[in-house]
Every structure is written in structure tokens, then in C-alpha cells.
């Protein structure tokens, strides 16, 4: 019997302590499920993206919290200013009273992260130095910066249509 008390002391109590630590992680799993919709979900890189930028709509976040929308870079993809293994922020927003948000990519974000332009001393984007992001399916995460809730979706970047 005594041995069970010892087990209680040395196994269950530390187990509870570790459980409490991981509660922070679990916090993001509780509450409503966060969702993310990308419009359009499939794009090709063109100047039209400055007039009609990629837009993100989400729900299930904490009211009034800030949301960071990030693109997960696949291994081996190098991006100017981004260290390997880092995600790149492409939009941000504040959730409304119902935990919904809408965010569009700002022109600077489209230039820096999709076209990967250089910048001239005149503060103009330099398309000659551009290294556009390769076509592919990119994972996009929207994270609530208070709740840690994460919603995920995919953005497909396709090659531009061939000129006829």
C-alpha cells in the first residue's frame, strides 16, 4: 500500500505539473474552431495583385485580438530578409466583436514577399532585381495573438498563363 503512495507522490504529481504546463498549448484547442478562407485561393503573379490583392477572411478568434497571417515557407526556399525555417508575415488585422477578421495583402507585402523585388535609392520597387516566389501550394496560417488560435488554409500560386 505504501508503495502506491510513493508512486502517487513521484509519478502523478510531476505528471500533473507537466500537464499544467501544457495547458498553455491546449488553450489554443479550446473554444470555437478558427477558420481561414483565402480569396482567390489560386493566383498567378501579375500587377493585378496590387489592385485586387489576395484577401484573407477568418472566424473563431477572440474578439478584438490582433491576427497575424503568415506564409509557411517550404524547406529550401530562400526569401530576401527571411531566415530559413521562419514564416513570413503577409497580412495582419484585428478581429471584430464576433472574432471575425478580414485582411488584404498591402502592396509592400505583395512586392516584398511575392515578387521579391529590390528597392532603388529612389524608394521605387526594382523589378529587374525581382526573384518571384516559385509556383506551388503554400500553407497559410492565421494566428490570434492573444488566444494562440490558429486557422490554416492553402494558397496556390500558379504559373502565369501563356501568351497566345
Amino acid at each position: 500500500m505504501r508503495i502506491f503512495k510513493v508512486i502517487m507522490l513521484f509519478v502523478i504529481i510531476p505528471g500533473l505539473a507537466l500537464g499544467a504546463i501544457s495547458c498553455q498549448t491546449l488553450k489554443s484547442l479550446t473554444g470555437p474552431k478558427a477558420t481561414l478562407v483565402i480569396a482567390p485561393a489560386e493566383v498567378f503573379l501579375s500587377p493585378a495583385l496590387f489592385k485586387k490583392p489576395v484577401t484573407f477572411k477568418g472566424s473563431g478568434f477572440q474578439p478584438k485580438e490582433m491576427i497575424s497571417v503568415e506564409m509557411v515557407l517550404p524547406p529550401g526556399l530562400k526569401m530576401k530578409g527571411i531566415k530559413e525555417g521562419e514564416d513570413v508575415g503577409i497580412a495582419f488585422a484585428t478581429a471584430d466583436e464576433n472574432g471575425n477578421f478580414t485582411a488584404a495583402m498591402a502592396p509592400t507585402a505583395t512586392l516584398n514577399w511575392f515578387f521579391q523585388v529590390g528597392w532603388t535609392p529612389l524608394l521605387r520597387p526594382n523589378f529587374k532585381a525581382a526573384k518571384p516566389i516559385p509556383p506551388g501550394v503554400y500553407k497559410i496560417n492565421a494566428t490570434g495573438l492573444d488566444s494562440d488560435r490558429i486557422a490554416t488554409s492553402n494558397l496556390k500560386i500558379v504559373p502565369p498563363p501563356k501568351k497566345k
Binding site: G81, A109, L122, L123, D146
Partner: protein, 406 residues
């Protein structure tokens, strides 16, 4: 059986204690604190930000080489946001749980406004250029020097003095030309009211998008409206290019051009020295020939960067950021010690560092419980013989922030 159980439990206990022990900072080999720079190293304002952050990084490197602050080393983390707010928010998200992250320097007003909301929640200090709003609504964001409008107001005092010294009667007419964004408009939020109080006639301001190639249309409009002085705003090389266009139009002969904090540096002078000759610049940190005369700046540059040929005045500004951080860190460590040190202690320390000197690179620190201004003084410079030389000593700036309703 019983012996086996005890051995098993001992192993479990050892593992548990090790997990707790290794995650605890008390077992860390080195005491360290963190300074995060949400910077621009490859984007549109990299030309100014790179030398500034070099100054901060070199200063911190030097402090660490001497053993740190009371044995506490400082870790400088520089993030290239490419001047993009979404990237800055995401980068802060990545680093916000970094232990002992005490101060975040946000390179632009847009970044500061977005990230500032998170920093308030995280009880950390934010540094940012010169938006007067952060003085009007006191919080955890501190500006680098006097607010933009304070410095613009001081330049209006100089305009009046210059006008009188030329024997002119009445009040001068002043034109204002700047970027069409929050930064470009900030100078006038209180600065316009101050100019009016002095009797100066301010022409309707001209705003243009960053990246504009030619500024002739704006300059011609201001000249035709009778401007005696024109403030050329933007971040260099924009002011240099505005004055280049004014020179080509023949306007620099009859109109005195002035520029602000981010006006021409050695870089602009190396390309357009002729056009810039005679222009006036006001600054809260040492520039041009003054920078070359400051031993703290030149010694550090020579130690880490070599020849003084490429020394830029903004390098000194970066050193001043580092000095302020170190000064505040000393106060915070004295107050609570390393183990208990948190962002909120640094916030208190930044408010109690009033009067702190930074080797004369800028005026005495003006941070206080009721002030978020990094200093109150500016110096006025003129381009003479292809060099940026001071024409005044340090001058206290008026409080123009209070003249605007935020």
C-alpha cells in the same frame, strides 16, 4: 521487487527534476537580456537603417566585450522587415516569448502603431522615430528625439531669425513638401499652429507618394505662390532629389530650402553636392562634420568598421539608442536585480533616465514619467563647400505637440 520500484521511481524523479531544472533560467550559463530591432536592411529605407543598427550593434558588442552590464550580456536581434508592417507583426509574434526581451525598436511609424498594441499587453518598451502622438498619449512607446512637430517648430524659429538677419520686413512665406503618408503629415500636427503663432504664412502643403521621380510640379506651385522657404521632407534620398529638382528649376537661388531629421547625409552629398549647397538641415543627432569630431562615434566606428570614409551620421544615432538601453538597464538591474527583471522594470527605468548624457551625440535624455521624447534639442546645419557644418549649437525645441488635438 521493492528495490526495483525504488530504483524506477528514482529515475522518474531525476528526469522530472532535470526537465524543470534545465528549463529554469537559474541554470543558464550566462545572464543575458535582449534588444529586438524590427528594422529594414534590404527594403526602401535600408540606406538609413543599416548604418543606424550598425551603431547599436557595435555599441552592444563593445559593452559585452567589457563584461556586459553588471555581468549581464546584451543580445542584439535584428530583423529585416523590409519596412513591411505585416512582416514586423509576424516577427514580433515569433520573438515575443523570448526570455528577458526588454525593448523593441520599430523603425517606422506604421510598424510602431501596429506592434505597439502588442507591446502594451506584453508590458515592454517600444522605441520609434518621432510621432508626436506617442507624446500626446503617454504609453510604453518612446520616441528617439523631439517629436517631428517640435523640431519643425524650432526650424520655424530659425526661419524667423534668418528672415530678420537678412533685413527683411514682415513675415516670410513657407512652403511644405513631404510624403503623402502619416510621417509626412506629422510635422504639421502642431507645427502648422506654431508657425501661425509666429506670424508665418504657411502655404497649402504639397504631398506626393514615396518613389516620385520628379517634383517639379509641386515645387513650381509653391514657388508661384510666393514661398521664401520650403521644407523638403521625406526620407533621404527623397529630400536630396527634391532639392536636385529645385536646383534644376533655378529655385535654390531665391528660396531657402530646409530639411529635417532624414535629410541629406554624406550619401546625398556625394551625388548632388552642387544642388545641395546652402541648404539647411535640422537634426536631433550629430551630423556631417560634427559626427567626425565626436570621439565616442569615431572610436567605435574605427574599432569595428575601419576607415572613416564611409562614416554616416545615423551611425551615431544608433549608438545613442544603445547607450540609452544600457543606461536604463543599469537602473532596472539596480532596482530589481537580474532574476526578477522584466519588461515593466525597463519601462520604469526608461522613465527615470531623465538627463542621461550620450557622449554629446544628442541632447540630454528627456524621457520621464510625463515625457516620451528622447531629447528636447536640435542642432541646425548648413551645407557649405560640400560639407554639412553646424550653424547653431543645441537649441531647445518648443512643445508643438500640445498645439494639436490628437
Amino acid at each position: 521487487m521493492r528495490k526495483a520500484c525504488i530504483i524506477f521511481l528514482s529515475i522518474v524523479l531525476t528526469i522530472c527534476l532535470s526537465m524543470v531544472g534545465f528549463s529554469s533560467s537559474s541554470f543558464a550559463k550566462e545572464k543575458s537580456v535582449v534588444y529586438l530591432s524590427l528594422a529594414d536592411y534590404t527594403g526602401p529605407i535600408a540606406g538609413l537603417n543599416v548604418p543606424a543598427d550598425k551603431g547599436t550593434e557595435d555599441y552592444i558588442k563593445d559593452i559585452n566585450a567589457k563584461g556586459g552590464v553588471d555581468g549581464v550580456k546584451i543580445k542584439f536581434i535584428g530583423i529585416d522587415t523590409r519596412y513591411d508592417v505585416a512582416r514586423a507583426v509576424s516577427a514580433y509574434k515569433r520573438y515575443r516569448r523570448t526570455p528577458k526581451l526588454l525593448v523593441v525598436n520599430s523603425i517606422g511609424t506604421g510598424i510602431a502603431r501596429a506592434v505597439g498594441r502588442l507591446l502594451v499587453r506584453d508590458k515592454r518598451v517600444q522605441l520609434t522615430p518621432g510621432d508626436g502622438e506617442f507624446q500626446a498619449h503617454l504609453g510604453s512607446t518612446f520616441i528617439w528625439g523631439p517629436a517631428y512637430q517640435d523640431a519643425f517648430a524650432a526650424s520655424m524659429d530659425w526661419v524667423i531669425d534668418d528672415w530678420k538677419s537678412k533685413g527683411k520686413s514682415g513675415a516670410p512665406v513657407v512652403g511644405y513638401l513631404n510624403w503623402d503618408n502619416a510621417y509626412g503629415r506629422e510635422h504639421l500636427r502642431g507645427g502648422k499652429q506654431y508657425a501661425k503663432k509666429l506670424g508665418i504664412k504657411m502655404l497649402p502643403p504639397e504631398f506626393f507618394p514615396p518613389g516620385t521621380l520628379k517634383h517639379d510640379v509641386y515645387l513650381t506651385r509653391l514657388a508661384k505662390a510666393g514661398a521664401n522657404y520650403i521644407h523638403a521632407g521625406g526620407i533621404d534620398p527623397t529630400p536630396t532629389n527634391v532639392i536636385r529638382d529645385a536646383y534644376a528649376l533655378g529655385l535654390t537661388k531665391k528660396i531657402q530650402f530646409t530639411t529635417g531629421y532624414w535629410g541629406p547625409t554624406a550619401l546625398g552629398l556625394s551625388v548632388h553636392a552642387k544642388a545641395l549647397e546652402g541648404i539647411v538641415n535640422y537634426s536631433f543627432f550629430l551630423r556631417g562634420e560634427d559626427t567626425k569630431m565626436n570621439k565616442a562615434v569615431t572610436d567605435l566606428w574605427k574599432k569595428y568598421r575601419g576607415s572613416l570614409d564611409k562614416l554616416n551620421g545615423v551611425y551615431g544615432m544608433g549608438i545613442a539608442w544603445g547607450m540609452t538601453y544600457v543606461g536604463a538597464l543599469k537602473i532596472a538591474l539596480n532596482s530589481v536585480g537580474y532574476e526578477k527583471l522584466k519588461g515593466v522594470d525597463m519601462y520604469k527605468a526608461y522613465q527615470s533616465i531623465t538627463g542621461f548624457e550620450r557622449a554629446g551625440i544628442q541632447g540630454p535624455c528627456a524621457y520621464a514619467s510625463d515625457s516620451r521624447r528622447g531629447s528636447r534639442e536640435i542642432k541646425i546645419y548648413r551645407v557649405k563647400g560640400g560639407k554639412i557644418v553646424p550653424i547653431t549649437g543645441w537649441q531647445k525645441t518648443p512643445d508643438a505637440v500640445s498645439l494639436h488635438k490628437f
